[in-house]
Amino acid sequence: QKEVEQDPGPLSVPEGAIVSLNCTYSNSAFQYFMWYRQYSRKGPELLMYTYSSGNKEDGRFTAQVDKSSKYISLFIRDSQPSDSATYLCASAGNNRKLIWGLGTSLAVNP
């Protein structure tokens, strides 16, 4: 079992839809949870960073961490074609070594 599991998709939604992206993790020592966005032929860029459990909102993006179920979510409201990218979740323990999911490919269709 991988330490961080993520459905690779692909996921295709119409413009304006609410997108839900999810990961699960197995290591209960993980405390740091990130979502990165990666456009084609670019490096990943950090979207959301959460420490421990709870929600974090930034504009159209909301990250949720449920440590009891070891579940990580990213919600995108009012999705735009410019949101089309691969979304990678990553988790880390106190050593800050990132353990990555496979990434979910998202296409938002105009």
């Binding site: 032929r41 490096g43 990943p44 950090l46 960073y49 990553a90 990132l98 999911g101 990434g103």
Partner: protein, 111 residues
């Protein structure tokens, strides 16, 4: 603020040849990472430097891969000899605190 710079952006070589990648991190970032990202997968950490010292190289195939960061700034990653399975994007990242900033990557194709 300038981002992480990498070169070359693309490289095509034949198996058994050698290749080197260069990374210039964001100014002032003490920690530098090299990742390998195979198509359809998340990045895999190859090596982590703190200034010019190695923190983690547990997943670096040391029989063929080497990396250095001599003055604690720029870094080079070398593969010698390359194998077909080394075809991937090699990402460099740097960090000051918790956030890692990535460069655009070098796409390596081994024929």
């Amino acid at each position: 603020e300038a981002g992480v710079a990498q070169s070359p952006r693309y490289k095509i070589i034949e198996k058994r040849q050698s290749v080197a990648f260069w990374c210039n991190p964001i100014s002032g970032h003490a920690t530098l990472y090299w990742y390998q990202q195979i198509l359809g997968q998340g990045p895999k950490l190859l090596i982590q430097f703190q200034n010019n010292g190695v923190v983690d190289d547990s997943q670096l195939p040391k029989d063929r891969f080497s990396a250095e960061r001599l003055k604690g700034v720029d870094s080079t990653l070398k593969i010698q000899p390359a194998k077909l399975e080394d075809s991937a994007v090699y990402l460099c990242a740097s960090s000051l605190n918790n956030e890692q900033f990535f460069g655009p990557g070098t796409r390596l194709t081994v024929l």
